[in-house]
């Protein structure tokens, strides 16, 4: 007998296969388990290991869960290259569409592609190419030329075309002629300054289900689950939208931000209009997607620890770690003298980062290690949110100042949710998340001023995004139950 009332939500992650079992009637998590992902050999081995644990630890029989769906970021995640015309316009729009679909964007290219750029694309081995360029009725030459170059390339991956609709037929013909898999979808920028990422997002997702899942060796899992329906980051973004908007009869939390600090990247999702909150400010640049995702590939706790230090600078990292010490995480051993910044010299910081970069599965044990993780997490959050939010530019005229706003104004945002190991299993998640706060020293960066902080305490955001596919109201209730204010 299967339990219709139980759902098994599976996340095939890059390192772990994570399971969340939910009792749909009671909107309760009845078990979670994980085991290393085994995409190289056979994806089912890791899944079965995790399922065995779920049964042993919680008495939940995965085989009896009536609904079983999965998301995946295994085998490198969904890798994409985005191509547009002008860097700030259709190329940026294409990048946002790809990010919104949960992709890892390997490269963003603009104008006519050069031979060297095509070669670079071939070497990057993306799973999908997103080709945009021109508003509807606008420039056709460049997207057509780029279709021609892609047609001649050795890239044999699905190409999603989301550019000038008046060039779409010609682009399709050129690519089909060359034997490519082509999907035409709505223009990411049908009119100048109008962002339209939804059709591309939907198309990318269906390509993911049809082709990428199999290409990544996940096909066997589909015998057991109803489907591997989206990349993991898309599930997190779906959860963010659900929590913000709510469902009929069950209100959401309103505009919010989710910060996901991982080993390799730090992702920031905001679900908010980001309209100016101060009078006399003129919005500029591309309009922002209501649900926006940014990914910082150089900011992370392990793989990207070195690049984090590179990007932030030793000084900033030392300050972060020192601050974590003052907040009560000061190690009695080793980092004793590191209450402030003293002792955290350049050499020490670099060797810490080097060590984390080499031991990517390292879990903090000592007080000192907790302090380091908290400090790095703080800096990663600070920088990722700085890059995510909008900023004000002051234009001085002889007659006074005018203000331009690029990106989202999130100063009034009330809700910041943290996820990822360093906040969930760390000692001071609040301090890590405080990196998201408005900084008086950088008043032009429109970060949240007085938000409340919440923790994804059970690590279920992606599971909730998946569950939203089949039972949105239940998914919302589950999420609300396990969100812990800190």
């Amino acid at each position: 007998m299967t339990e219709k009332e139980q759902a098994l939500l599976i996340d095939f992650g890059s390192t772990y296969t994570k399971l969340t079992a939910v009792d749909l009637g009671r909107a309760e998590v009845i078990g979670t388990a994980k085991a290393p992902t085994t995409v190289q050999e056979d994806i089912m081995i890791g899944l079965e290991n995790a399922m065995r644990r779920l049964k042993e630890d919680y008495g939940v029989d995965p085989g009896r869960c009536g609904r079983r769906i999965a998301c995946s970021s295994a085998a490198g995640g969904l890798k994409m290259v985005a191509v547009g015309l002008v860097p700030d316009l259709t190329a940026e729009a294409a990048k946002r569409a790809a990010l919104g679909a949960g992709a890892r964007v390997l490269s963003v290219l603009s104008y006519e592609l050069t031979r060297e750029e095509i070669e670079r694309m071939e070497a990057l081995k993306p799973d999908i190419v997103l080709l945009a360029g021109g508003t509807d009725g606008g420039n056709r030459d460049v997207i057509l030329a780029n279709a021609g170059r892609l047609a001649q390339s050795s890239l044999n991956v699905p190409m999603v075309v989301a550019g000038n609709k008046n060039a779409a037929d010609a682009v399709k013909d050129v690519l089909i002629e060359a034997g490519k898999d082509v999907r035409i979808t709505g223009n990411v920028m049908p009119e100048l300054g109008k962002l339209n990422v939804e059709p591309a997002r939907v198309t990318i997702r269906s390509v993911f289900m049809e082709r990428i899942v199999a290409a990544k060796g996940l096909k066997r899992a589909e015998n057991f689950v109803e489907g591997v329906v989206m990349p993991t980051p898309a599930a997190v973004l779906a959860a963010a939208e659900l929590i913000a908007k709510g469902v009929p009869g069950e209100p959401g939390l309103g505009e919010l931000m989710i910060i996901d600090i991982g080993g390799a990247t730090t992702d920031v999702h905001s679900v908010a209009t980001g309209d100016p909150t101060k009078p006399g400010v003129t919005p500029k640049g591309l309009p922002e997607p209501y649900a926006k995702r940014t990914v910082e590939g150089d900011l992370g706790m392990r793989y990207s620890a070195l690049s984090l230090v590179e990007a932030a600078g030793v000084e900033r990292v030392a300050k972060g770690i020192g601050q974590a010490g003052q907040a009560g995480l000061g190690g009695r051993k080793g980092l004793e003298d590191l209450e402030g910044r003293e002792g955290l010299d350049e050499e020490r910081i670099r060797s810490i980062a080097q060590d984390l970069n080499r031991h990517t599965d390292k879990v903090p044990v000592t007080e000192e290690e907790y302090q380091i993780d908290t400090g790095l997490g703080y800096v990663a959050t600070e920088m990722a949110v700085e890059r995510h939010v909008g900023y004000l530019e002051t234009v001085y005229t002889p007659f006074g100042a005018s203000y331009l706003q690029y990106g989202k104004d999130l100063t009034k945002l009330e809700c910041v949710i943290g996820t990822g190991g360093v906040v969930i299993y760390g000692r001071n998640p609040r301090l890590v998340l405080q990196g998201a706060l408005f900084d008086q020293a950088k008043p032009d960066l429109l970060k949240p001023i007085t938000p409340k902080f919440f923790l994804d305490a059970k690590y279920i955001l992606s599971a909730v995004g998946l569950l939203a596919e089949i039972a949105p109201a239940t998914a919302l209730r589950v999420m609300k139950r396990y969100l812990a204010e800190i």
Binding site: G138, N139, L192, T282
Partner: protein
């Protein structure tokens, strides 16, 4: 007939918004596709917009007296960006105070503008010129 596209905006740090709205309305009613960038528009924004939309014309307004500085180099940047045949129009209150119009006009033409309009120009005048310059005149 295919619609011709005009990119419109008020250049530099200029916030005079009323004339811009009137021009947008008038050009649209005359059958053009108008991409209005509003106020506080940089040269780069005019150019990027013209590239993506394959516009035939960039129509620049400047009211606050700094037109000359703000407009300098626009033609060169268009050429540099591959917009070889684009028409450049400019109007508003192009210079501070009352200067000789002929001189002002020459200055802007030398900068590469195809049409230069004095204060108080009515949109209709520009529409007539647009039709002529774009070969849209009846019988043409």
């Amino acid at each position: 007939m295919e619609q011709k596209t005009i990119v419109l905006g008020v250049i530099g740090a200029d916030v005079h918004a009323v004339g811009n709205k009137i021009l947008e309305q008038a050009f649209r009613e005359a059958g053009f596709k108008v991409v209005n960038l509003g106020v506080l528009v940089s040269q780069e924004e005019f150019i990027s917009a013209a590239i993506e939309t394959a516009a035939e014309v960039i129509a620049v307004s400047s009211l606050y007296g700094h037109g000359e500085i703000d407009c300098r180099g626009l033609r060169d940047k268009c050429r540099e960006s591959g917009l070889n045949n684009i028409l450049l129009y400019v109007g508003g209150y192009l210079v501070v105070g009352k200067q000789d119009w002929k001189e002002t006009e020459k200055k802007f033409k030398d900068m590469g503008f195809d049409r230069v309009y004095p204060p108080g120009t009515l949109p209709q005048e520009a529409i007539t010129d647009l039709r002529r310059d774009l070969g849209l005149e009846a019988g043409a």
